[in-house]
Amino acid sequence: MAKHLVTLTVNGDTYDLVVSDNQTLLDVIRDEVNLKGTKRGCTTGSCGVCCINNAKGEAVLSCLTHALEWDGEEITTIEGLEADGELDAMQKAFIEYGAVQCGFCTPGVIMSAKAIINAHPEPTKEQINAGLAGVNCRCTGHIKVKEAIRNDHRIRELGRGTRD
């Protein structure tokens, strides 16, 4: 198995990594960078738990892409959303609206949700549904997830996770 040197920036930190041909971006995030928030699920792109954001803020399934292809790139994982010791508005919205149950898919769902908001700051129902199409959450029935995404902007304005 050939090895390659890859420079990857994860949540603002730059790592020089030795990566094998067969390692996916997911493998590298979990095993080399040692961030475990991005979960390992089906590893075939059908469940959405490994979702991260690329430099453009788009959703990427990290299990479906070779780590090699990410040389010189920047990515954001679930651990990268917090700023100044505070959770991101989307993370707060997920807690407040009860969009979290077992929590296994939650990091992936939140990264999908961030990608929706990055593309459409005040998304329509259709845009939310399209952005969640790759999500296979089995606990919430997606209902409170959608509520959280719709209200993320309100929480951003309030600056904290409180309900009216």
């Binding site: 991005t38 993370q91 009860g98 898919c105 549904n129 296979n136 959450c137 089995r138 919430t140 029935g141």
Partner: protein, 787 residues
């Protein structure tokens, strides 16, 4: 040659004496007063929310132990074959391989006393474990599996129940006399007389397909058994307690030497209530290598190792009087147990009972035949067999109503039991809001103005149901115990062994304790998920969490409060029974100005003369020897639309009214409703494991269809509180009571959209629905030509 079939086991239970309320309960009854509560009833976000949304939560796959090896399992490619030879020498010689084990290496250990850990002389289903490898990394382990050489002699296999029961059918495992694993009949009340005196008898057949639990977190086990007297297992589970009981004797350990760590469980849906071969295999590999081992099921392997619902076929017969009174049910179920005989027969019994409780029947007969096949061993899915049984019964009632010219919701209301009723199997319903639930959804959905008046392919259906909150059975006890530690700083920590696989039960326990101690649950901590740290808890199944562990939490909090009153009563100079704990303060009932802060009280209790550190303990065990004290009840109405061109069904809206006793945390209750409506819809409309000669045709989350976000209906929630005398603060359950009724309502709505005829297959997938669309079109054409 005809083989002998298993003896039929038949029981008869007469009609119970309904003239008296159950006296043996009376000493246990709590207050039914709907008291004014401070914390309970508020929308409480999950306490572990910040960890879960930030990627900090640790699941078993995130555990990295020093020196940990990767374990992989070699699985059977054949549904039935003799193993002629098994050679692992090449795999053992591969650099990086630390152990290769097969049946001959493990002695007498078996899984749950029921199935082998590894197949030895023959395999009986695709995916059955044959050998396992532990290696330095995943690639090496996979390579080693490829180097294991097996010679098979393929044997004839039986892949469905019809073939399995045919005379001369090949035997599934050669150990039983026939392929019929069990045949049980239970009679309650007066069955035959009810059918003999019935004015109408309606009968339908219903078939439900094979499902997968499809948890978000795959099957995984991380084990450290490198020292002989300490076994540590990290794994998602619904019950660490039952796992300890299975594993300790298998490995010659005491219960305390088996530590189960289930920090988080990524969904369970009735599928994680038992130990499975991969748990044993990880333990055996760790014992062999004296190093920690992780086994993680990959994409399609996850489908092979799953134990969910198999094919189930029902025959339902219902007896009615002219006035619409339902007097008896006769249900027959044929259940595919797969290659290992399981408790499926028992689950069928539960399902039949659960769906007949809601009617004051004269007679109930249930026959359950569990059949062995060369399919994967079956267990339970979300809602168990109760979901499909309810879908059949509610369709039967909705379609019957049309035939006898009655509104189905009237028929259900007329037949719904009320509080104080004694059921045929002896259960006494101390609280029951069934009729209120029916009225609530009837009004909310504007049923009276809409039912029967919708355009073609647009339907409404109504379902009712009930769910036992806890079912004491396997042990003499059904005990949950809870500890409440009051920290010197006034921060209260709850210690509980109940797993939280998403249902929010840890937050529920904190809310209950917070109510008793008058504190803010957001300031509390919950320590759970580690049998070395937490007191005993039988587990999170059979909807026992809120009622059993909730009562234990309440008892533990009361114990802590009692200890705190000693100092407070003296300091405030009031009788300790007059103290109120509320809003972070302790004060006298009739003189609220006589008060002190909770934190201050805790501090002074410790730093006072006595130096008391407050630690509350409580446990709860059902007062019954067997069975249930409390049942939830519910009614739901579903509205659906069928696309006549594609056969696709769209669920537009579901109105849910659920008598849950008391809503401890309405936010979590709504979450439970969402998830169960989703899962019911998923099973009624989509979910089906498709196989060909035992091979999985759709082993991925793309091909095995479940609802995505855009397919979800709107949900209208109504939480009905009846304040049960046994539940903590009157709470019963909202665990699986919803899903069962959603199944019935959605199935009935699809039937209504398709001309009101019974639809006998589940899932109601497009290709099946299209057959019914064609029937409707034929009927419409015939109607037009007749006109």
């Amino acid at each position: 040659m005809a083989r002998e079939t298993k003896t039929v086991r038949e029981t008869k239970v007469g009609t119970p004496d309904r003239s008296r309320r159950r006296p043996r309960f009376e000493g246990e009854l709590g207050s039914r007063e709907k008291t004014d509560l401070d914390v309970i009833g508020k929308r409480q976000p999950r306490l572990d929310g910040p960890e879960k949304v930030s990627g900090r939560s640790i699941f078993a796959d995130d555990v990295q132990l020093p020196g940990m090896l990767c374990g992989k399992i070699l699985r059977s490619r054949y549904a039935h074959a003799r193993i002629l030879s098994l050679d692992t020498s090449k795999a053992e010689a591969l650099p990086g391989v630390k152990a290769v084990i097969t049946a001959k290496d493990i002695g007498e250990i078996d899984v749950n006393g029921r199935e082998p850990v590894f197949a030895s002389d023959a395999v009986t289903y695709i995916g059955e474990e044959i050998a396992a490898v532990a290696a330095l990394d995943e690639l090496t382990a996979e390579k080693a599996l490829e180097l294991i050489e097996i010679e098979y002699e393929e044997l004839p296999a039986v892949m469905n129940m019809r073939r399995a029961l045919k005379e001369g059918a090949p035997l599934v495992d050669g150990k039983t006399e026939g392929n019929l694993w069990s045949d049980d009949i239970d009679n309650y009340g007066e069955v035959e007389p009810a059918f003999e005196t019935a004015d109408y008898i309606f009968e339908e057949k219903y078939e439900a397909g094979v499902t997968h639990n499809l948890f978000a977190e795959f099957h995984v086990a991380v084990v450290d058994f490198s020292l002989p007297d300490k076994l540590t297992l990290y794994t998602p589970t619904q019950t660490s307690y039952l796992m300890q009981h299975a594993l300790a004797p298998a490995f010659g350990l005491t219960l305390s030497q088996v530590q189960i760590i289930h920090l988080n469980t990524g969904g369970a849906f009735s599928g994680r209530g038992s130990v499975r071969p991969h748990h044993y295999i990880a333990i055996l590999l760790s014992r062999e290598t004296r190093r920690p081992v992780k086994i993680f099921a990959t994409g399609d392997e996850e489908f092979l190792v799953c134990r969910a619902l198999g094919e189930n076929k029902y025959k339902m017969r219902m007896a009615l009087k002219k006035d619409g009174t339902i007097t008896a049910f006769d249900m027959e179920a044929e259940m595919d147990g797969g290659a290992v005989g399981t408790e499926v027969g028992y689950f069928g019994w539960m399902a039949g009972l659960c769906n007949s409780w809601v009617f004051p029947l004269e007679g109930l007969r249930m026959r359950r035949r569990c059949v062995l096949t060369n399919n994967r061993p079956n267990f339970l899915g979300h809602g168990g067999l109760m979901l499909s049984t309810n879908a059949a019964i509610m369709q039967l009632i909705n379609t019957t109503a049309k035939k006898i010219d009655r509104d189905p919701i009237d028929l259900l209301y007329q037949n719904a039991i009320e509080e104080g009723h004694t059921g045929l199997s002896g259960e006494w319903f101390a609280s029951c809001g069934l009729r209120e639930c029916i009225e609530t959804v009837r009004k909310a959905s504007d049923w009276d103005n809409r039912y029967g008046k919708l355009e073609s392919y647009h339907g409404l259906g109504v379902g009712i149901g009930s769910m036992a909150a806890g079912a004491k059975g396997a042990f003499r006890h059904d005990t949950s115990a809870v500890m409440v530690r009051v920290g010197e700083d006034g921060i209260v920590t709850v210690y509980t062994g109940i797993p939280d696989m998403g249902q929010g039960t840890h937050t529920t326990m904190a809310v209950i304790v917070a109510e008793v101690l008058g504190i803010d649950p957001n300031d509390m901590k919950v320590i759970a998920g580690d049998t070395d740290l937490t007191p005993i808890d039988v587990g999170a199944f059979a909807q026992r969490g809120t009622i059993q562990t909730g009562n234990a939490a309440r008892n533990a909090a009361l114990d802590a409060r009692e200890q705190l009153t000693v100092y407070a009563a003296g300091k405030l100079e009031v009788d300790k029974d007059d103290l109120v704990f509320r809003g972070g303060k302790v004060y006298a009932q009739n003189a609220p100005d006589k008060s002190m802060g909770f934190e201050d009280l805790v501090y002074k209790t410790l730093h006072g003369k006595e130096g008391r550190s407050v630690m509350g303990r409580g446990f709860y065990n059902s007062p019954l020897q067997f069975g249930t004290t409390s049942w939830s009840f519910g009614a739901q109405i579903a509205e659906v639309k069928v696309d006549p061109d594609t056969g696709e069904v769209q669920v537009l809206k579901v109105w849910v009214a659920h008598d849950l006793g008391r809503a401890i945390n309405p936010l979590a209750c709504e979450g439970q409703i969402d998830g169960q409506v989703y899962s019911a819809m998923s099973q009624i409309l989509y979910e089906e494991v498709q196989t060909d000669a035992g091979l999985y045709l759709n082993p991925s989350r793309l091909e095995y269809k479940v609802p995505r976000s855009y397919e979800m209906p709107e949900i209208d929630y109504h939480l009905i509180e009846t304040i049960d005398p046994f539940g903590p603060f009157g709470a019963k359950e909202i665990g699986e009571g919803i899903i069962v009724v959603s199944g019935g309502a959605i199935a009935a709505a699809v039937s209504d959209a398709l001309g009101g005829e019974f639809i006998g297959e589940m899932p109601m997938a497009p290709w099946r629905v299209l057959k019914h669309v064609k029937r409707v079109q034929r009927q419409e054409a015939a109607g037009r030509s007749a006109a």
